[in-house]
Assembly symmetry: C2
Homo-oligomer: 300 residues x 2
């Protein structure tokens, strides 16, 4: 039986991974500080703090998972880029990986980030783009990847590292770009945005979670971009939302300046995900935005 | 008053750093699993295991050092290159650095390694040589450097990272190259060596320790090679030992094969150490080898 330990299972991505994991035949053991409302039946929940190494180690010994899907990290919007907590999660993730090995684990997938790449490059590619992160979050994720990749290999664990780009969907922090625009236009207030010519790759969080489940079930090793491969500008995304809500009047592109050092382009190659993992997103951007608008209508 | 916490203070390099630190005016607080015999008077010793995070944290809070000189790591000869313990020392070193910051620390120097560099490059240079370590030891040291450099900067701690190349001297593990040749020739048994055309940079451990003390007392930040800048072949070193001991007959160069993947060249630039730190080794290789032979005569 395939028994998966999912960390950060109550988080933005983690909570969307539970049903796909069950559908793929996993016995799902989920750890999180809190159990999210409306989670599917049949999940074994553990409300524990993984930063406590003794607690984490006992938990892994008790569950003895064959598979590990590690989403947990410090993720407070606006603060996580350079928070000291990034360092704690490097140590906790190292300890978790060692515990998983001691407990007989066989396959592990970790959540990485596009922030590991040097952003001056046009298209982030897993094998050729330099890893030169510009912030502590990217540095810590990249350092962890450098460590767990050889460690898992020498420990007989098959592992992969999914690099997340931009995402949106249910339960996203309201201050972030997509929810901020949707909520403003839904409540008929001004959606004040930058000019919006920044090029990004957006994926619905349910697709991101499904991609991780597909990666976990595949034999693919090493870094894999979790990405649609279809770059859009922020103005495209905001315009799509405004069109769906029939409220272009309140969309004020160019009314605030872009943050300093905001990279003009963060896009990447989806080749490994599409061709090696054999996975493609279920939703177009339009479908994903429609679903997300519906969710926010019910959760304003 | 300058108060330094030295970790690994009983180790091969750490024990040689204590007198130079005192001479440079530091109040020296030394932590180690054991207190080495013959250590200088006036050192405050703490026999603690830094891998125990609670113990380490209490110790730092008690001492409240202004300076940190971090040598401690897993260093069992032959085993350290790919040992799992490297991962533990990444976590312990992160926790130590955070504790040092919380306790008000101002200047930290960490022991790095030439194994952080890609060894296919001819001359390892701090700014231009790619960091592409070939073993877990180099990977973990490099990952730690990637993390502590920005973390110390944003925490208001001045920090540097001394990359150690090859070294020799008193108390070296007997199985290693220089002691093995000296001990064989001293006892008139065969010194079976590889052909010895590997190019390396050797420094006497007392000079290595003195270089770290100079680096600690300087304002230089970032990676600095701890290196003589005068490459020699292993055959040169072995030949020098044989000459000093008048026993060339027992030196059998080429009688064993070089280990697989033994890099032909591991050398580097001493420019930052010489020009920015303003430090040069006190001993020539010949003087250092003479001192080391004398030490082994008394410690066979």
């Amino acid at each position: 039986v395939k028994k998966v330990l999912v960390t950060g299972a109550g988080g933005f991505i983690g909570r969307q991974s539970l049903s796909p994991l069950q559908a793929a035949g996993y016995d799902v053991h989920a750890v999180s500080l809190d159990i999210p409302a409306g989670s599917p039946d049949g999940i074994a929940w553990y409300t524990e703090n993984l930063l406590n190494e003794n607690v984490m180690s006992s938990l892994v010994d008790k569950i003895r998972p064959t598979h590990l899907l590690h989403f947990a990290w410090y993720a407070v919007p606006g603060k996580f880029w350079n928070a000291e907590e990034n360092l704690d999660w490097v140590s906790a993730s190292i300890a978790l990986t060692k515990s998983f090995h001691r407990a007989g684990g066989k396959r592990a997938v970790f959540a990485g980030t596009c922030a590991e790449y040097e952003w001056s490059q046009a298209v982030c590619d897993e094998t050729s783009t330099p890893l030169r992160p510009a912030n502590l979050y990217g540095i810590c994720k990249n350092s962890l990847q450098q460590i767990v990749t050889p460690y898992t290999k020498m420990s007989g664990i098959s592992s992969a590292w999914g690099r997340i780009f931009h995402l949106y969907g249910p339960h996203e922090a309201p201050s972030r770009f997509v929810p901020a625009v949707i909520r403003a236009l839904l409540t008929n207030t001004d959606a004040r945005c930058t000019k919006g010519d920044q090029l990004r790759d957006f994926m619905h969080v349910s697709d991101v979670a499904a991609a991780f489940v597909a990666l976990l079930s595949s034999p693919v090793e090493g870094p894999v971009n979790i990405i649609s491969g279809k770059p859009v500008t922020l103005a495209d995304v905001a315009g799509l939302i405004a069109r769906k809500l029939n409220n272009s009047g309140r969309l004020q592109l160019g009314s605030i300046p872009a943050p300093p050092n905001d990279p003009p382009i963060i896009v990447g190659s989806s080749k490994r995900l599409n061709d090696e993992v054999g996975w493609h997103p279920a939703r177009s951007l339009e479908q994903g935005i429609e679903e997300t608008i519906t969710w926010w209508r019910n959760n304003l």
